[in-house]
Symmetry: D2
Subunit: 379 residues, 4 copies
C-alpha cells in the first residue's frame, strides 16, 4: 500500500522551500500526498497560498484557519495551540503514515506536536541550522520531537546528531529550496516580469528588501523599519520590498508602510506581498543586492550568487557562503554595506545548501525508511 505523506504548509515561505518535494511525492509510485494548509498560508494578506497551490496542480488541500490577530504576544502561542487542536483532527481524519513539517516558524510547532503526540512518524525539513530569535528555539525543539531529519548542510547534520538524534535518521539531502534555485539559475529565459508588477517607476538595476520583525526586540520594530527605510532612500535605487510575515510586529510594519506610501511622493519603492516561487527566484536572481534579515539571501542567495546585506540578529549563526555582508541596525552602516556589495557585483555560486536533488532524495527516503516512533536520545 502507498504511504500517505501529509505535508503541512504554514506560510508562503514553506511552499517555496518544499515545492520540489511536493512534486516528487506526487510522482513517487509508493507515495500519496495529503496537503494541509494552515497558519498565515490561509490568508491573502500574508500572501495566501490556497489559490496558488491549486493553480500549481495540488488538489484536495485540507484547510485549517487558525491565525489570531497578531497585535500582541499571546497570538503566536494561541495560534500554535489552535493549530495543534485542528491538526489533531486533520490527522485523525486523514490517517497519514508520515507527517512532514518544515523549518522553524512558530506555526510549524503545531504539526510537530500533533503528530508526535499521536504517535505518527514525524519528518522535519531544515533542522539543525542556527539563527537568532524564537525560530531558533522552535527549530531545535521540533528536532527533538521528530523521527526523521532532512537537513540542508553538513554542519546542520552534525548539529542534529550532536543534539542526540540517531545518525541513521539524519539525512544530508540539501535543501529543497535550492532545487528551485538551481532551476532558476539555469533558466536563461525571460527575466522577471517587471511590467506585470506595475511599479510606478522604471526598473533596470534594483534592490530587494526582505525584512521581518524580530520578536524579542519588539519595542523597536518601528525604529527598525525607519532605520532601514532611511538607508534605502539614501541609496536612490528602485527597490522591491516584501511585506513581512504574520509575526508579532507585522501589523506595525504594515502601518508604517502605509503611512510612508501615503505621505511620500514619487518614491521608488514597490511593496510586494507574494510571488510564486519561480517568479520570486527570477526577481532575486537579477537583483543588484538583497537586503534584510530573511534566510533567502543566505540560502537561495548563495546559490544564485546574489550580493546580500544581512541586518541584525535574526540570522545570527546561520551558516553562509561568501555572498553575505553582516551589519547592525544602523542606516549609514546599511547603506555603506549595500554600496560595497554593489561595487563587488555578483558572487560565485555556492552549493552549500544543496545540489538540486533534495526533493527527489527526500521522497525516496520517505518511501523506504523504516517507520518507528520509539526514539531515545543517543547519549
Amino acid at each position: 500500500m502507498k504511504r500517505k505523506i501529509c505535508v503541512v504548509i504554514t506560510a508562503r515561505a514553506s511552499y517555496s522551500r518544499i515545492k520540489t518535494l511536493l512534486i516528487a511525492i506526487k510522482a513517487h509510485p509508493s507515495l500519496r500526498l495529503q496537503l494541509v494548509l494552515t497558519g498565515s498560508g490561509m490568508l491573502d494578506k500574508y500572501g495566501g497560498m490556497l489559490n496558488l497551490l491549486e493553480r500549481e496542480g495540488f488538489n484536495n488541500i485540507l484547510k485549517v484557519s487558525n491565525l489570531l490577530e497578531n497585535e500582541n504576544h499571546t497570538a503566536a502561542a494561541k495560534t500554535t495551540g489552535l493549530g495543534i487542536i485542528e491538526l489533531a483532527s486533520a490527522f485523525e481524519n486523514t490517517r497519514p503514515d508520515i507527517v512532514v513539517t518544515i523549518a522553524d516558524r512558530y506555526e510549524t510547532m503545531s504539526a510537530a506536536i500533533a503528530a508526535s503526540f499521536m504517535n505518527i512518524p514525524l519528518a522535519h525539513v531544515q533542522g539543525g541550522e542556527v539563527t537568532g530569535n524564537i525560530d531558533e528555539r522552535v527549530r531545535h525543539a521540533v528536532s527533538k520531537l521528530a523521527d526523521m531529519h532532512f537537513v540542508a548542510t553538513e554542519s546542520a547534520r552534525q548539529r542534529v546528531i550532536a543534539m542526540g538524534e540517531d545518525p541513521h535518521k539524519v539525512w544530508h539531502t540539501g535543501c529543497p529550496s535550492n532545487d528551485l534555485a538551481i532551476q532558476a539559475k539555469n533558466d536563461a529565459s525571460v527575466q522577471f516580469d517587471y511590467e506585470n508588477c506595475q511599479t510606478k517607476f522604471p526598473v533596470s538595476k534594483y534592490l530587494v528588501v526582505m525584512q521581518h520583525p524580530v520578536t524579542n526586540e519588539g519595542g523597536f520594530i518601528k525604529e527598525q523599519f525607519n532605520t532601514l527605510l532611511t538607508a534605502i532612500e539614501a541609496l536612490q535605487i528602485p527597490t522591491f520590498w516584501f511585506t513581512p510575515n504574520a509575526d508579532y510586529g507585522a501589523d506595525r510594519i504594515m502601518k508604517e508602510i502605509r503611512i510612508y506610501s501615503e505621505t511620500t511622493k514619487n518614491h521608488k519603492i514597490h511593496f510586494l506581498r507574494n510571488l510564486n516561487p519561480e517568479a520570486f527566484l527570477k526577481l532575486i536572481k537579477h537583483c543588484a543586492c538583497l537586503i534584510g534579515n530573511s534566510s533567502t539571501g543566505i540560502r537561495e542567495g548563495s546559490l544564485l550568487g546574489v550580493p546580500v546585506v544581512n541586518i541584525g540578529s535574526r540570522q545570527n549563526g546561520r551558516e553562509r557562503s561568501g555572498n553575505v555582508v553582516d551589519v547592525d541596525f544602523e542606516s549609514d552602516a546599511i547603506a555603506d554595506a549595500v554600496r560595497e556589495q554593489l561595487a563587488n557585483g555578483p558572487y560565485q555560486s555556492s552549493f552549500l545548501y544543496g545540489k538540486g536533488n533534495a526533493g527527489l532524495q527526500i521522497a525516496e527516503i520517505l518511501a523506504t525508511t523504516e517507520l518507528k516512533t520509539n526514539k531515545q536520545i543517543t547519549y
Copy 2:
C-alpha cells in the same frame, strides 16, 4: 521589585516533585509565587490537587481546566493545544517574570510553548534525564525551549549541555522531590496510616504498584495490566496499587481495575488514587518492594533504599542506583524479580538525585540569575 514566579502544576506528580521549591519561593524575600493548576491536576479522578494545595497553604491558585476525555490519541494533542491557549491568557493577565515547568508530561509542553512564545523566561526542572515513551521527546523539546535548567543529576547536566544549552544556565541542584524524600527518611515518627486508608485486609509487609500505560505500545495495554496482575496475585502479599495518570490508556486500565474489583473476592489489592506527598513517601519508605514503571522507584526509591522492580521500556535509560531490578513484561519474570528483591531487603541510601536542598537552591537562582530570552545553540 519582587520577581513573580509562575509555577505550572499539571498532575499530582508535579506537586510532589516541586513542593519544596514552592515553599522556598513563598519564603524568599525577593520572590512572589503564582500557582497555576491545569491538566489532570484539576480533576478528582486523577487525584485532583486543588483541595490539597489549598489545605497545604497555597492560595490564589489560577485554575485552567483543559483535559479532554482520553480515549483516543487526539486527546493528548488537543489537551496540550488547549493548555497553550489558556496559559497564554493566564500569563497575559498575571505577567510573571519567570515561568517554571516541571519534568516531561505532555501537559507540561503547554507551559513551555506559551511562555517561550511570549518571551517570558522559562525555567525547566528535571531536564536532561533519559526514559522511553513520549515523555522522552517532551522532556528534551522543553529543554530546547527553556532558558534555565535545574537538573537532578550530573549526567543530566552534561546531557542538557550536550544538546547545546548554555552551561551557565544549567544548574545541578538535585531534584526537589529528593528534598521531601530526605525529610521522610529522617522522619522516624508514625508510619503511614494504613488504618485511615481503609484497606479490607491486614497490612504489615506490603508491596506498592505504580504502573502507567505506555502510549506507544497502546495495543497491549490490557495485556500489560493483566500480566502485572497475575504476578501480584501469585505473590500473595498485600498490595497498594496506584491508579494511572491521565494518559491515553488510563481509562482502559481503570476499567480493568473495576472488573477485577467487582469479580474477585477477598483480593489483597487496595487501589489508591492519590496521597499527599508526605503520606505517599511514608508508604513508599516502608514498602517491601515497589513495582511498576514510575520514576518514583528510581528517584525517591534510591534515596529511601527501597527495593524496586522496574517493568518494561518506560524508564529505559533513566539513571539509577543499585536498588532497581529491571524486567520485561512477563508475569513469571516480574514475580521472580520481586521475590529476589524481597530476599535482598532494603538498600543503602543513594544521593544520586540530590542532597535535600534543591528547592532552596533553585529559589535562590530564580531570584538572582540574569533574565534574558535570546539564547542560541552553543555549537
Copy 3:
C-alpha cells in the same frame, strides 16, 4: 447539482432520533449525505457511535473529538467552544448546502453557531418542545439561530412560530424517532435478545431505567441516584439501567453505579451503555415500566404504549400523552408510581409525536425548500 446535507451527531440519542432521516437523505436523488460525529458520540464510554454507524452502512464520517473531562461546570462550555472551532473547519472543508442539528444537547449548540455564523442554512429537528434544565435554553436558542424547523408536534409548531419564526419555515413533520418506534411496534418478530445481554439474572418481566443527571440541581446528584436505587431495589423486579449521558454529574453517577455493583451481591440490575436503535426499541417495547427522566418515555414510549414513571423536573412541560405518571424525587413515591403503572399495564398507542414518515418528509423538504439566511423575527 445535489444538495449536500451535513448532519451533526453528538450523542447516541441523536442517532436514534435521526436514523430514518439519514436513510432518507442517502436514498434521495437530489441529496448527498455528509455525517459528522462529535461530542460524546465519539467516545466508547458514552456508547460511542462510530462503529455502530459504520456497521449500519454510513461511510465517510468526519470525526471531531471535542469532549472535555466533565467533572466540573466548565466542561460543557469548553466542549461547546471547541466544537464550534472544529465544526467551522469541518464546514469549511466540506462546504455543505445545509447543516442539520438535532434536539437540545449542549453539544448541538456548536453546530448551530458554526453554521449560522458561516451563513450556511441551518435546519433544526425537534425544536419547540418544552422541558426543564439547560436543554430548555439550548433548544430555544438554537431555534433562534436556525433557518428551517422540523417539529414533532402541533404545539411545538405553534411555539416556534410564537417565538417569531417564519411559519413557512416551520414544518410539523413528526419526530423521526417515532418512525423507528412505529417500525418496532409493527415488528412482531423476535423479542429483545436478553440472552445476548448477559444479565446475571433471569428476565421475563422487567423495568428499564433511564435517568440523566440534572445539571442545575448539581449538588444532589448522588442523592438523586440513591433515591432512585432505593425505589428500584424495593420493587424487586429485574431492571435494565442505562448509564447516563456525558453531562456534568455523569462521572459521579458512574461511580455510584460501580460502588453499588462492587458491594451488592445478587442484585437484579443490569447496567447498559448503549444498544443499536432497533434493539433499544425492542427492549423498551416489552418493558413493564420505563422509569427516569429521559424523553424516551414520553416520546417513543407514548407510541409504544409503555407505562412510564417520569421523575423530577427534567421533562417539566414536555407535551405527553396518557402513558406517563409524574413523581418527585422520593423513593416511596417512585416505587408507588411504578406499582400503579404495573397494575395499569400497557397503554393505547399515541401518535402525538408523529405518524412514521418524518424522515422522508424532512428529506424531501431539504431537497426542495428555498435556501436563504436573512431571516428576521416576525413581530
Copy 4:
C-alpha cells in the same frame, strides 16, 4: 456579601452602550464590578479599549485575546468558540454572581454560552430589538439563554416577552447609551475638538459616516463601500468616517480606505478608528448628518436630534423616531437623502431609547432581584 457583577465588553461599541452602568455598579454599595475585555476590544486596530478603560478609572480588567484574522467566514465562529473556552476559565476563576452581556455582536454570544452553561445567572442588555444580519440571530438567541433582560424600548420589552421570557424578568429601563447621550445633549460646553483630530481640512459643517460590512451580502462589500464613497464625494462636505468593526469584510473595507487615501489628493474625508464615548457624542451631536448603517443614528441620534440617512438592510426593523431617512445602496439616492436631511436640519429630541437613568436602574435591579437559573418558556 456584595454581588460580583462580571461585565463582558467585546468591542468599542459595547463600552459606550454600557458606560453608565459600569459607573453605577462601581458606585453601588451592594455590588462589585469585574470587567472582562475580549474580542475586538483587545485590539488597537479596532479601537482597542484597554487603555481607554484604564484611563477612565476601571481597574483589574481581565484580558481575553480571542480574535482570529477575519478574512474568511470561519473567523466569527472560531472567535466565538475560543471566547467560550476562555470565558469559562475567566468565570471559573472569578466566580461572578451575575454575568452581563451586551447587545448582539457575534462575540457576545461567547459570554452568553459560557455563563448559561455554567449555571451563572445571565443578564442581557439591549435585547428584543430588530435588525437585519447575523446580529438579529445572535440577539434573540442570547435572549433565550439569558435570565434577566434590560431592554431599551417598550416594543423591545413586548418582543422579549412574546418570545416566551418571564415578564417579571424583563425590565424596560431604557438604554444606557442614552444616559450618556442625554449628558452630551445637556452639556453646552466646548465642542468636539476638531483641532486635536488633525484633519487636513477646515471643519465647520460636517458629515459623519458609520458603515459596517453586512456579512450576508458579503460578495458586494467593495461595491457597497465605493457606492457610499461616490455619494460622499458628490456632496463635497467635510466628513468624519469611522473605520469598520472587526466583522467579516472589515479588512477589505480597510484596504479600500487605504487605496483611496493613497490615491486621492486633497480629499475631505478624515478616517477615524475610535473616540472615547463623550468625544464621540460631541462629534455626533454637532454633525449636519449621520450616514451609514450603525445603530448609533437610530439610537443616540434620535435623542440628539441628529438627521440620519440609514443605508441598506442592517437596521431593517429597528424601531426609530422621525430623524431617520432610509435609502438603498445607491449613490444618487444616498446623496439625495443627505441633501434632504441637510435641508431639514436638526430634529426634536426623542426619548424612545430611554430617559437617562438606565445605568442606575439596571444596577439597582442587579443588586436586588432574585437570582435563579431554572427558567422555562412561558407558553
